[in-house]
Symmetry: none
Subunit: 398 residues, 2 copies
DNA sequence: AGGGAGCCTGAATCCTCAA
DNA sequence: GTTGAGGATTCAGGCTCCC
């Protein structure tokens, strides 16, 4: 147990047969670039070369590492290989050769949102982790996740019976109350994992390039090992895998060819911390503030919705005279005057050509409202227009 | 254009070189099983054999189909190959050989939620679509989606520069004010697509095995082709690709070895239907075609779009006094009077509570138009309201 | 031609300042 | 002091442009 320095091809030879329960490999990708990054306070800079003379060269190297990793795995052990888009298919072929295609278990998709670029084509927003077992009899702990937001709570909790006509209905006791069914554990984890990409500003970042989010490693370790088992990471880098293993009570062996990396990993292991991402804690919905109706109105205006602003709900997609146009939808609990104040206050610094306020309620006193603002256009939502017309028609008809 | 019957290897020979803009292939998977499924009313059962003597056999067949597909593609054309988990890596190697690894564009992950099973291991919840171009100069239309809820307004609006130390900072003019950047359309679509799996109860389902959601096909067609371009599907099955192509105004060529499939596809093409569940499903991912103003207006009205009616574009989701409310959006090439006539004519037999006409153009003579129809409400679209206000502001300002 | 410098991205954080 | 809205900041990106 510990962090070893050297080429993993060589160092792996010093480990005994069938001695580890899980091998996680995050090898250098076949990108032909040098990756470097500084720590957040610029005290150190870490880098590594990702250059190979050819793809065959790279694959020969990886084949040797995979065979060595297989040897040290216990019979119930598993391997998780982290691949990037350029060589994933070649690496899976290697895995088929070394572990056998019958031991392929899953292609895990790590999906994330990331800063964008001006790339022609689709934005790359996932990486692949291949999951192979050494034998058919491998260790696997099922993880349960939350139900989909569209799953009805009643469906999860309440027991069901079939009534006389064979239709499934909720079970009720003598007094007519619904009966809560047996404990549900949730939905088994799927092979698509939405885990936020380690953000450039994240505190979790230690300055080593290609650092992975700790949640990704925790999940892999939790799936494939129990407490006390041993985790191997032949390309441990800054040691995220080892930190996750230590925090989960597993033994660990890390190897890296860079002495900087080994020292950094040892440093992190002395004080293992698990920082919680705000996004993970709150979930994406925590940031979403708009109702369905508001979104529909923004779409109809051809406006881009924005969150994280109390006064502005969106901007028109097209600028007017080179200036943006801010939009606010009147909220259910605010009068038109307050909506106007909030919109104008929020737009002050945004150099807007003008602003649009969409009115969504009618039953107000508008006698004091100033409709003649030069830079504010008030539009009735379609619903308001329909209601007003219906009202008028009913009155004139009676 | 049409649906051809036969082995695609042979039928493709009858197509000319460089004649199609997009090839979408959803070949039989290498699963060694027979797939079959009945229609919802059990009127027919479709099945196909998915058996090959060996993997090499299967790959030899696919290599030939890929080469034939490449030949018929225009120089700016693209191919999308739908793979399953068992052979995806082999198929990507074939694509590298036939199209060249430098023409690899994306590995698209189609992710979906699915009913869970008790299987040991992770729940399979994705399929892979490989996207290759024929040359480096290929056609690609970027689709834009919403910003992440964590992105703030400043980030979206303000221009940035690098200062002397290479740090990115907001750009400011001489007076120290921030500078607003150019128009923003949102975030480019990523390579991970969350599209609901075709619900077994969906109206869209026609009972053919492995049927794909139409939204998936619409997206592929929208990014790789323009209106009037030609889409090829050598394994067209029940014809979802062709239906999507037709609905989006593209030409199409479908091929299938099963006569049942060809007949079913031809039947669907006579009455192309797009199920409502799929329409609602794209709410989070944004609209397929930003220019699809009509659909945006219908959604803002909370109306259900209807196809195949020359006078009515949709109905309000909620009835008024137990009667439906028909909606028409004024078309670009018709004046308001004609739009009104068509709407009223089409609604005559529908027992509507009233009808709504959404006005989308302003530069007309309205002096003869009768605005006081008891059963017709004319609403200005948001765009018209904005244009009118801008016009007025400019006139009063000058 | 080919390779490096410079530019534009936006996600998700950190950080500041006002209430 | 505490909170929280919103301004600021970096990057396992990817173009274009310029030698």
């Amino acid at each position: 147990m510990g962090v070893l320095h050297g080429d993993c091809k060589e160092v792996l030879k010093s480990l005994g047969d069938a001695s580890v329960d899980l091998a996680y490999l995050d090898p250098p990708f076949f990108t032909q670039k040098t990756h470097s990054l500084s720590t957040r306070n610029n005290t150190a800079e870490y880098s590594f070369e990702d250059r190979w003379t050819s793809l065959d060269d790279y694959l020969a190297f990886m084949a040797e590492v995979l065979r060595a990793s297989r040897r040290v795995l216990k019979e119930t052990g598993c391997i998780f290989l982290h691949c990037d888009r350029s060589a994933a298919h070649h690496l899976r072929l290697l895995l088929d050769q070394v572990f056998g295609s019958e031991n392929f278990q899953s292609e895990i998709i790590w999906a994330y949102r990331r800063w964008s670029s001006a790339k022609k084509g689709l934005l790359n927003a996932h990486q692949t982790v291949y999951f192979y077992s050494k034998t058919g009899d491998y260790k696997f702990n099922t993880i349960y996740t939350d139900y989909s937001p569209t799953t009805n709570v009643d469906q999860i909790l309440q027991a069901r019976v079939r009534n006389e006509s064979g239709k499934a209905v909720y079970r009720r006791d003598e007094t007519g109350n619904v009966v809560i069914g047996k404990e549900k554990r949730g939905v088994p984890l799927s092979d698509v994992w939405n885990i936020p990409f380690l953000n450039p500003k994240a505190r979790e970042r230690v300055g080593y390039p290609t650092q992975k989010p700790i949640l990704l490693l925790e999940r892999i370790i939790a799936i494939a090992t129990d407490v006390g088992d041993c985790v191997l990471d032949p390309f441990c880098g800054s040691g995220t895998t080892l930190v996750a293993a230590k925090l989960l009570g597993r033994d660990y062996i890390g190897i890296d060819i860079s002495l900087d990396a080994v020292r950094l990993a040892e440093e992190r292991l002395r004080q293992p911390v698990r920082s919680e991402s705000q996004l993970l804690a709150d979930g994406e919905e925590g940031f979403l503030e708009k109702s369905d109706a508001e979104r529909r109105i923004l779409r109809a205006l051809d406006a881009v919705p924005v969150e994280r602003n109390r006064g502005i709900d969106g901007f028109l997609r097209s600028y007017v005279d080179g200036h943006p146009v801010a939009v606010r939808i009147q909220k259910a609990d605010e009068d038109i005057e307050m909506a106007k104040r909030k919109l104008i206050a929020a737009s002050k610094t945004k150099q807007c050509a003008f602003t649009i306020l969409v009115r969504t309620t009618r039953n107000e006193d508008y006698s004091l409202f100033d409709w003649t603002d030069e830079d504010l256009l008030v539009i009735d939502s379609y619903d308001v227009a329909i209601e007003a017309w219906l009202d008028e028609r009913n009155h004139s008809g009676s």
